[in-house]
Amino acid sequence: MADDVTQPRIGVDEWVSSVEEKRERYRGPIGWLRRGWDSSPPAARLLVFVVPAVIFPFVTSEGNLFRYGLITLLYALLGLGLNVTVGFAGLLDLGYIAFFGIGAYTYGYVASTHANHHWPAELAIPLAIAVAGLVGFIVGFPSRRLVGDYLAIVTLFFGQAFVVFVNNADRINFWPFNHTDLTGGANGLDNIDPLNVFGWKVNTTKEYYLFTLGAFLLVMILLYFVSGSRTGRAWKALREDPLAAEVMSMPVNKLKLMAFTFGAGIAGFAGAIYGSVQTGAFPGDYDIGLLITIYAIVILGGAGSLAGVIVGALIVNGVPELLRDSNQAEWVFYTVVAILVITKVRPWQKLVTVIGGTIALGFALHAIADAWFPRWTAGEANAGRLAHWVSHWMVLPSHPTQLANWAYVLTIALILVLTLLHGWWRTIVMIPTIYVGAFAWENLLVENTVGATRFLLLGALLVVLMNARPQGLFGSARVEIV
């Protein structure tokens, strides 16, 4: 916007200039990155993702490739489909995971020992996509006039009905399906064939990873073209204002149906791949839990943003996996705290006070404990470099459990108190809050990261990120004028 100054100022309202100012405010490396990202062509942006993604399987172990690579990609592929229905067209589809399941079951039915069909993937995957898309169409047809909450209720019901259906469709007994076992009931389908695409037998994790990467890129590029086409624009218009879209020549009902069918088809595609990766399809896999995960991915990345889906999937799938290891969990914890403090505490005087105060408080308490109560610092620090540094700052009692439990409760109480305080009081109380929180973490939670703590921390991370950027990491801020 360098030539902005030379343009006549008439008609340039303050709002616009304030927006420009906001964008220019990002200086230093972050601002440089943002402007670079905004100005680079889409193909270059894609490379930022593709190059590491292609190198990844050749530098990591099989287990890591499965957990961090393949599952993340599958989630991202699912996210792309949900992005069409929710992100582009703004339809709150809570039955989305059922289409994922339909893909997996369809693939499983035609390519497993269950019914002794062994279709090759080049036929079975299109069938899975078509069946999922068709069911999406059928569900969408009666609900295309519903909006918002009502659509959410109907689709949520459909999602639940799907789970009940697959649990019971092993003994269908009416004409013309006498004694048909469609889904294997509660046991699911097993022995699903590995993918066999035009004679290429996909067997190893690495091959699955590369196949899924290809599928993801294909869907991503196709969707990118759609989003810039008349259909993509119409979807966005319908999300913004359905009545205006209808009056402005867009057939809203048809467009909703299309978005629904499209999202379902992509979910079916992901389902077919997932079915063959798992070599099975089980009713429990296609339930609300996964739905929430995929929604978290799309919302965290920024609804409507294709790049956001990748980053969202990396965070939502990657972080809980990282947290399995207490050393990595340590890094995640302090990063979350740092992001929270840095983004939320303004102005810089308060920020400096909080950070400086927390560090000083730690060392002071540590010194006092060292001098008078040696037992309080006798606890074992975790292995790992960060934990080693932390052990000079944090009081680690030799028998911490009881105390840490109380610290945990105290942290929650302090956070509640924080929300009631204002101004400098809030800044000052924040210092012990962080310290007590870190105490509970070091002495209690870090040991249990395999269990519930993982998800607690992931939840906290999501809250922090959404607070820092409500529109999602790659979303653009949505504005309503009333």
């Binding site: 916007m1 006549p8 008349r230 259909t231 624009r233 205006a244 402005m248």
Partner: protein
């Protein structure tokens, strides 16, 4: 009146739960004409627009566009036939860019399917180019106000007056034969109002549009109208030149309640 009117409403009635918003309304707009609809609040002016554009279906009567009935068509089909409108309460696609707003509404005039768009087949690419050029042309109708760096700004960042202009540009981009403008000067300052008055004249001269406009500002109505129609309680109470309608005792009564005061 030998020639067939472009838009012809015959005995149109619409009521909501016993409340008649429009009744027995006859109204016609000839090709190239600018007709203003005036009336106090609640007179049924916006309902009239909603009935014409297919948002509401009239309970009785017929609406003919160029001799063909458009009653019962879905709104987007009505738009395809050549009727475009703006909204009194602005209904832009706020989180889309200025250019996207004008590009999106050309949906009805283009044909390439979503599969053609995916594979970027020639027809899709050709249409995209055309849509973009067309959008930029429509936006340049407003001089410097909606061009250049404004193209890529979100619609919400525009000032109120510019949002009104964008609404008109968006309606123009559907290539209508008749434009329905719902209070285009509402909320504008005197100089902007003056500009809008000139713009509506330009729309007819350069854009060759036929225009039906709802307006409260009598200066605007005086400046633009070939003919004025006054509504009150859904009934047409006067029709004719601005001077004739503005001095019509029934219109004066509808606005000021004068006769009641006199009889007391």
């Amino acid at each position: 009146m030998a020639e067939q009117p472009l838009l012809d409403l015959r005995g149109v009635g619409k009521s909501f739960g016993g409340l008649a918003c429009l009744s027995e309304l006859d109204l016609h707009v000839n090709e190239g004409e600018i007709v203003s609809v005036i009336g106090p609040n609640g007179a049924g002016k916006t309902t009239l627009f909603n009935v014409i554009t297919g948002v509401y279906r009239p309970d009785e009567g017929d609406i003919l566009l160029d001799g063909e009935s458009i009653v019962g068509l879905e709104p987007h089909k009505v738009t395809d036939r050549g009727v475009a409108r703006t909204f009194q309460t602005l209904r832009l696609f706020l989180n889309m860019t200025v250019r996207e707003n004008v590009m999106a509404v050309q949906y009805g005039r283009t044909k390439s399917t979503v599969f053609e768009a995916m594979l970027r087949l020639p027809r899709s690419r050709r249409e995209e180019r055309q849509i973009r050029l067309n959008a930029e042309e429509k936006l340049s109708f407003f001089g410097q106000r909606l061009v250049g760096y404004r193209w890529d700004q979100p619609a919400y960042s525009l000032s109120y007056a510019n949002r009104r202009r964008l609404e008109i540009a968006r309606a123009m981009a559907t290539e209508p034969r008749i434009l329905l403008l719902d209070e285009p000067a509402a909320g504008m300052n005197p100089s902007e109002t003056h500009e809008i008055t000139e713009l509506i004249g330009q729309l007819r001269e350069e854009g060759k549009y036929t225009i039906l406009v709802i307006e409260h500002d009598m200066h605007v109505v005086e400046g633009i109208s070939d003919r004025v129609v006054a509504l009150d309680h859904g009934v047409k109470i006067a029709e004719g030149s601005f001077d004739a309608v503005a001095t019509d005792p029934r219109v004066v009564e509808a606005y000021l309640g004068l006769r009641k005061a006199e009889t007391k």
